[in-house]
């Protein structure tokens, strides 16, 4: 019975996923985690050294192996040719060239290291079959197959696929059907909200290559809409049913002209951020309303890089006729590794239907127990857990006492969000905790907000328009009477990008927050990713210790070990 290895092979955010013979996703991880290289630009998803360890752990080498990529092989030549053309386009070559030329190389490199390591382990066996899938189909597959829906409408809103930047599907009983006509036009004319937002990020003085679009989202609530700019941006786009048109070159050139040198005070550009965010939301809303008008389902599944816009995600159910929304933990190109592997599985098992449940995001690497033992034995740190207490309960006590606690539990999350397994936690009741975290731990801009993780049963008490948000994919507004209770996680506009924590998906994190609730009466904690700015979330015990000792974190909890700094 074959094992399916999905390879997300976009030039940025490469990732690898393994689906077993039963159609279960047994492993998924982004290359950036293993390499500790933010977004792992121009690296293959099958890292030359790490891929061997993944194969040994998750793949039965006696089985046949099928490789599945997140771009369609037969179109690679046209994508590569278009990439070369775009790279030569004088107006925007400086903006796009690194990505486009890198993408050409990515197609050439994908799977080479994996084939080598397979050959190393079973030299007499023929190399694995490789199948390519349409980029937007892999987005849709990841999103729909991970959702709790039997039927849904799916919108993929992206920067770029083989031909278009958007794609719309109907999902029914495990099968996808594309709804919008595939465009014949080039990337230039297919309106790209992903390119728009990247350009906006660039114009605001941030770095879209480093994935700093969420800085724009964090800045936008401080600003006001500029009517003239709004009209200028909005007129770039024409929405015609499920087709989005724009001159992407013109809009990228316009943003390029707006670009200011990175300013120490990003607040200067808050109105630009706000205006751009509103245009993004309004255009995307119009597309989604047109999708809803098909009437095929009241469930929406959202995918593509633009689905990382949590500020918009939290407004979708208030702006469209949809009644339920699902956005997977990794909606961007890294998540396509899962979609590609599952599409390959489905090709061989046409009657397979994924179970309708919220897929666990904890699909990454386990904590290395040997490294943890070495830390305890040789690190010179005192294990601080009182006897008879559990690490999660003790961590909750530390939080209630005002400590900043880094937590490393179980398998790592897949995707950009820390969901309690690789997190830095703090007491949200403190108004000063934001400044302390930004200055002493994360070393980032002061306007950046922090996110709450809340017990799922308490969402309605704390948030307006309460919705499940298991992957921290939505921003909702706190109820007015609650905001003063948790100033550490309330953004300037009264919102918070929340994670709803259930005991089913994350029992240890649920236990920690429950204990914090018992101690303080507040059923939520501040949750930020376990990393410093500019670096990915920590991958190994060694990474965690390095951040612990070079930042203002007070305590480090790895599995059932607790280490505290003294003298803080």
């Amino acid at each position: 019975m074959p094992t399916y290895v999905g390879l997300a092979c976009t030039v940025h955010d490469p990732a690898l996923a393994v689906v077993d013979a039963a159609g279960e996703v047994v492993f998924a991880e982004g290359t950036e985690r293993r390499s500790q290289n933010k977004r792992a630009h121009q690296r293959p998803p099958d890292d030359a050294i790490e891929i061997g360890r993944v194969l040994d752990r998750y793949v039965d080498l006696d089985d046949e192996i099928v490789l599945a990529t997140s771009w369609e092989r037969r179109r690679w030549k046209s994508v590569a040719a278009r990439a070369a053309y775009l790279a030569a386009e004088p107006r925007i070559s400086a903006l796009l060239r690194p990505v486009m030329v890198g993408q050409t190389n990515a197609f050439d490199l994908v799977g080479l290291n994996l084939r080598y390591r397979l050959h190393e382990r079973r030299p007499s066996t023929a190399g694995p079959e490789m199948r390519g899938f349409d980029h937007h189909w892999t987005h849709a597959a990841t999103a729909c197959f991970s959702s709790p829906f039997d039927e849904a409408l799916c919108a993929v809103i992206d920067a770029n696929g083989e031909r278009s930047s958007t794609a719309f599907f109907e999902y029914r009983r495990g099968h996808l059907r594309r709804l919008d006509p595939e465009p014949r036009r080039s990337f230039r004319r297919n309106g790209s909200l992903g390119a728009f937002y990247a350009g906006l990020c660039f114009a605001c003085g941030f770095d879209p290559v480093a994935g700093e679009e969420w800085k724009v989202m964090g800045l936008a609530p401080y600003g006001e809409r500029d009517p003239g700019r709004y009209r200028e941006f909005r007129e770039w786009f024409q929405v015609d049913g499920l087709t989005l048109r724009a001159d992407n070159f013109a809009l990228l050139a316009a943003f390029d002209a707006m670009r200011r040198r990175p300013s120490p005070d990003a607040m200067e550009l808050k109105d630009l951020a706000r205006t751009g965010q509103e245009v993004f939301e309004d255009v995307a809303s119009e597309l989604l309303c047109n999708l809803a008008a098909r009437g095929a389902s009241r469930n929406l599944v959202l995918a593509g890089g633009c689905a990382l816009n949590s500020s918009f995600n939290g407004k979708i159910l208030n702006r469209t006729p949809f009644e339920s929304l699902h956005v997977f933990a990794a909606p961007a190109d890294d998540g396509n590794a899962i979609g590609a592997a599952l599409l390959a599985f489905q090709q061989d098992h046409p009657t397979w239907q994924p179970p309708a449940r919220v897929m666990s995001p904890y699909l990454g690497s386990q904590i290395d127990s040997e490294a943890l033992s070495r830390l305890q034995k040789l690190g010179g740190l005192t294990h601080a857990l009182p006897p008879g207490d559990s690490a999660m309960r003790y961590a909750a006590q530390l939080l209630a006492d005002g400590k900043i606690v880094a937590v490393m539990q179980g398998r790592a999350e897949f995707g950009p969000r820390a969901l309690g397994h690789r997190s830095i936690l703090a007491d949200p009741r403190s108004a000063s905790v934001k400044d302390r975290l930004n200055a002493e731990v994360k070393f980032r801009e002061r306007f950046r907000p922090f996110a709450p993780s809340i017990l799922a049963d308490h969402v309605d008490e704390w948030f307006e328009s309460a919705q499940p948000s298991p992957y921290m994919e939505r921003t909702l507004r706190f109820r007015a009477e609650r905001r003063e209770q948790v100033p550490g996680v309330v953004h300037v506009d009264g919102t918070g990008r929340l994670q709803t924590v259930s005991a089913e998906l994350s029992p240890s994190f649920h236990q920690l927050i429950s204990r914090f609730h018992e101690l303080t009466g507040v059923p939520l904690v501040l949750n930020t990713s376990f990393n410093v700015m500019g670096k990915p979330i920590v991958h190994s015990v060694e990474d965690a210790v390095a951040v612990f000792f070079t930042s203002g974190i007070d305590a480090l909890v790895i599995e059932d070990r607790v280490f505290e700094k003294h003298g803080r």
Partner: protein, 438 residues
Amino acid sequence: MAADRDRAEPAARIGYGPEPWPDLEHALHRLALHDDKLGAVCLRLDDAARRERTRGRTRAPLAGVPFGLKDVWDARDSFTTAGNLRHARRRAGSDSLILRALRDAGAVCVGRTNVSDLAATPECANLLYGVTRNPHDLTRTSGGSSGGAAAAVASGMCAFDWGSDFGGSIRLPAAFCGVVGLRLPSRTFAVTGHFPFVPPELGLHGQGPLARTVAGVRAVVDAVRARLEFRRASPRDFAGIVVLGPDAFAAGEWPDAASDISLALRAAGVSVRVGATPAPRDIHHAFAALLSNHWRRFFGAFVGESTLAGICPGLGKARLHPHTQRIVAELAIAGRTRYRDLASTWRRVEAIRAACEALFDAGLLIATPTTTVPAPRLGHAHAKRELGVFAKLGNLLDAVALAVPFGTFASGMPRSLQLLGPPGSLDAVLALGERLAR
């Protein structure tokens, strides 16, 4: 004689319902008694309303309150036609967000209220359901496009209705029928599940409740706000009001509107000054130009023709009510002639927006007459070019716009005052409206 004609015969009016906030049975009784004369409700849902009430949540904010739903909001269990003959059997795949929000708040829908064809004209008439008359004078229009809504609310057939407004379609009928109408800004309250589609990027389209009192309007908004308000504008306080009155272009039958309104506001303890900018004539031309430049986006799908040469045969095939045909033809022709320069259109619009934003930024709301003419005789609304000028200002600004009853014209027909403010001023505008009502 003219004076005699202006005073309606007692038998030719229904007047206000006895209760400003009727219960369900009261509303259904009024509906049965009077709607054959008024034509306000095009689809009655009596049995469904009674079933909804028995199933409803008794502690919901609008538990058991009867409402009408303008025939533009999508609903799965009834046709949404926009009064258009070709869409007589149009059934939406899902309920609009506002319908869901109102039902979640416990309100029960007694029926779909009549609209002008494609919600496009200020007179409530269409080829599908006919004409809606004004409850204060059955020879006059109830206004449009939310004419059925206003007439139903005024005559006690429902406690409130939910309308839509991209050119005064809530406020003009509210003014003509003597009820309160509120337009909520589209950049904070999304318009979804509305047929026909209105291009959102122009910022003209809004929605909101009609009710007999400001308190009633506020109760409805409070019940649905969390569901509909997708973006919060920074709240703003205001220190005073600028009153914009009619010029020669828009004098109508209320040339002293500015002084009348100023007196009332001062009596309510508000600091007032009278302004002259933007001029009503400029508002009229800016709005007309904007619609003319974009007429294809609004009506192209219905006419099935986007060229000027094809417009007349296109209109003939489209089976539109003559009033709507006239409006579409005027817009199409003006868009290719008088208002053909899009850049000039935007300059007009932005000059008006800039002038009013300056007032808002200075801490001032704007007060105007909602309209300076009483409800026109049936079939004559199109001749009153000044009819919707002040209401259209609210759309150009994408403002919070509240129309409240303000005495009567010499003919005895209701008169109305309009308050305008930026998106963050909703609470301030409603509070001022309540003070004026007292």
